[in-house]
């Protein structure tokens, strides 16, 4: 197993909702200290680590640091916090969840999304999810004034969920989307550094912000770097659950990372799909085509940036994504790491940008 799983745990536990990715960036900067040629940060918080290559062809390897979260929108007379979602949630995974509430540079306090007890629900309410505007967060405060000692409007909340290895090589955690991509980028940098490799491509490892709201920092980064080719590392929702027909499973955990031919943001160039699948085949790395058009990621911005970029998205099949309990297979992490490494180290003339 790639050693990155240990780092991934640290990254997943970090507090990093959209536009508050600072704690995540701190973990990454500490991890990468001294392993790159150049480190730049733009005005909205994207971090780019460059490892110079033999050629001037630029490869952007990208993963986003932010996670889905909640933003505190008000505090009521009883001391409960009201919120708006930051990122796409299935409302059904929110009720009852434990949270950390806070902000960058602030102590994170415990809370939970409160729910009227089943005994207090009417017949019509039972069996139905509670709409987001009817939920609220309980931190134990007794009044508005009391709550204001700890929280202010604009603070964030993220899931409080530990990192658990279970079953046959499965892992559960929050924020796997996309700290998993971040951990893999760090792993690839580590490998290049430890083996003193000078890659063919000029490599730009990009840790971006704001993916979960769609107004993505990856656009700023891509426009700045103007890469020749881009690899987006992501986590993608899959439905490989008992009772689900095969054509709706999207992909299967344990069979390697997915390569997308199309999602809701990008129709990928067939030559890029072939390149990624071919690289997997050549190096004996399990990968699979994503069998369903769903989701979207930073590739949507990157492929249209700076006059057009040949882009491919490689994703780790992840169950229950955007919940407190994202589940993935550690073998897929390993395969995805190897595929990312082989892409980074691929001679330019063996790629679609030759």
């Amino acid at each position: 197993m790639a050693k990155g799983i240990e780092l991934l745990e640290k990254l997943c536990q970090a507090f990093g909702p959209t536009s508050c990715e600072y704690d995540v960036a701190d973990v990454i900067c500490e991890q990468l200290e001294g392993k790159y040629d150049e480190h730049t940060v733009d005005f909205i918080g994207d971090h780019v680590f460059r490892i110079k290559g033999k050629t001037d062809k630029k490869l952007m390897l990208s993963a986003h640091m932010d996670e889905v979260g909640l933003m505190i929108s008000g505090i009521d007379e009883h001391g409960y916090l009201h919120f708006q979602p930051v990122g796409g949630f299935d409302v059904k995974v929110l009720c009852g969840r434990k949270l950390f509430v806070g902000n960058y540079g602030k102590e994170k306090i415990s809370g939970l999304i409160a729910s009227k007890a089943i005994h207090q629900q009417s017949a019509e309410e039972r069996g139905k999810a509670t709409p987001i505007d009817k939920m609220y967060i309980d931190i134990g405060a007794t009044s508005k004034e009391d709550a204001e000692k700890y929280v202010e409007v604009g603070d964030y909340a993220v899931f409080d969920s530990d990192f658990v290895k279970f079953g046959d090589g499965m892992i559960k955690g929050k924020a796997v989307d996309d700290r998993l991509g971040c951990a893999i980028l760090c792993d690839v940098i580590d490998y290049i550094h430890e083996n003193k490799i000078v890659p063919d491509f000029d490599l730009y490892f990009c840790f971006t912000v704001r993916e979960e709201v769609g107004r993505s920092g990856a656009l700023v980064t891509a426009n700045r770097i103007q890469p020749d080719m881009a690899l987006v590392l992501e986590a993608t929702a899959v439905g490989d659950i008992a009772d689900t027909p095969d054509h709706k499973r999207v992909a299967d955990t344990g069979k390697g990372p997915t390569v997308s031919f199309m999602d809701n943001g990008t129709a990928y160039l067939p030559e890029m799909v072939d390149f990624a699948m071919g690289l997997g085949e050549k190096h004996n790395i399990p990968c699979q085509l994503k069998r369903y058009v769903s989701g979207g990621n930073d590739a949507g911005h990157i492929h249209k940036s700076s006059g057009g970029v040949k882009t491919i998205a490689v994703s780790c099949p992840t169950r229950y994504i955007h919940s407190a309990s994202c589940v993935f297979n550690s073998a897929d992490y390993d395969s995805m790491y190897r595929l990312a490494r082989q892409t980074a180290l691929c001679p330019v003339d063996e790629t679609p940008v030759k």
């Binding site: 415990s110 939970l112 490989d240």
Partner: protein, 346 residues
């Protein structure tokens, strides 16, 4: 005062799904060794703890809290190591998708309740599946799951106890083990104050499904029964004009009901008023929804009262109580037991 957080942690960390309360034995032995002369398990599954009288003449007073909690049971093992389950007790399905659970098979295993991805959801997106249509992901192969998880194994919420502000805590199984904590704290206080009468703690089984408490009480035949359970705290989603608005932090709630014992309950209310104990009073005219419904009619009849601890998010893994309320309940119960003992003895 006993360390309420520590006691809560010990009592709520193990398996105690109704009918499967065996995961608590470490905690039960700890309680026996610290406070009681004997502990026994009744045929129906309740645990009886007795601290024998040091002097004759005291009434036999029993404190009851139920030790079981809601959960699930495995009914089928499917491809990919997914489990089909059914509910034990009244589960709130709103908190289940993507929830962490513990599967108590031949080994204690982690599991997560399947949350159907949005692209697979059809029809009304706010509608929740029934528990019987939800699955649990064990991350195991079907073969391995079949080997480790016999059909019939219980599944419970995963334990995580969290401190909130203002001495409030959040966790699972507070219904009703937080009341057991209050009872134990009351007994510790009585011991420290040199109370010499017999004290019976009943940690009863299966309240959430069949109220098996009566089996144990039949044999015990106490002179008085003090039942403690949790009550649903008022929250802002409830009726703003509700008469009953007891909430977390208001102290113990004393229940007046025609089916417990009005005279006995009024003695407690008078005692609390006279001595300045923090409390509220509510009316549950013909049903308390607790063991206090059943205990009064055991044997020759038993004077029974119900004192409740307000709790939010009942039957979830994020139940919230105030440890101040627990301490206030313990003090009230201890004071009242002393008064009952003094009357008979004096």
């Amino acid at each position: 005062m006993a360390d309420l957080f520590d006691l809560t942690s010990r009592l709520t960390c193990g398996c105690s799904v109704s009918g499967f309360e065996h995961g608590q034995e470490d905690a039960l032995r700890y309680i026996r060794d610290k406070y009681f002369d004997e502990m026994r398990r009744e045929p129906a599954g309740s645990y009886v703890f007795i601290r024998r009288a040091k002097k004759p003449g005291y009434p036999r007073i029993m404190f009851d809290a139920h030790m079981d909690e809601v959960g699930m049971m495995v009914t089928e093992i499917l491809d990919g190591g997914f489990l089909r389950v059914t509910n034990i007790g009244g589960l709130d399905t709103r908190i289940l998708p993507a929830a962490d659970v513990t599967v108590y098979g031949k080994e204690t295993l982690y599991g997560v309740v399947v949350s159907t991805p949005p692209h697979l959801q059809t029809g009304d997106r706010m509608k929740l599946p029934k528990v019987q249509d939800m699955l649990i992901d064990t991350g195991l192969s079907k073969e391995k799951a079949e080997e480790l998880i016999p059909v019939g194994s219980p599944v419970g919420y995963r334990f995580k106890l969290t401190r909130l502000k203002n001495n409030r805590i959040c966790g699972k199984g507070f219904d009703d083990k937080i009341c057991a904590v209050a009872g134990i704290a009351a007994i510790e206080q009585l011991i420290n104050e040199g109370y010499e009468g017999e004290l019976i703690l009943l940690l009863s089984t299966k309240e959430e499904i069949s109220r098996a408490v009566v089996a144990a009480v039949y044999e015990l035949q106490p002179d008085y029964a003090i039942v403690s359970d949790v009550c649903c705290a008022w929250v802002p989603e409830c009726d703003e004009n509700a008469i009953r608005k007891t909430t977390v932090g208001d102290g113990p709630e004393i229940s007046l009901s025609a089916i417990t014992d009005v005279r006995f309950t009024k003695r407690l209310i008078e005692f609390a008023k006279k001595n300045g104990y923090k409390h509220t009073v509510c009316v549950e005219a013909t049903s308390t929804g607790t063991n206090a419904n059943d205990i009064p009619l055991v044997g020759m009849g038993i004077p029974t009262l119900l004192v409740s601890i307000p709790l939010k998010n009942m039957h979830t893994y994020s139940e919230v109580v105030s440890l101040d309320d627990v301490a206030d309940t313990a003090s009230l119960v201890a004071g009242f037991i002393k008064e009952l003992g003094g009357e008979h003895n004096g």
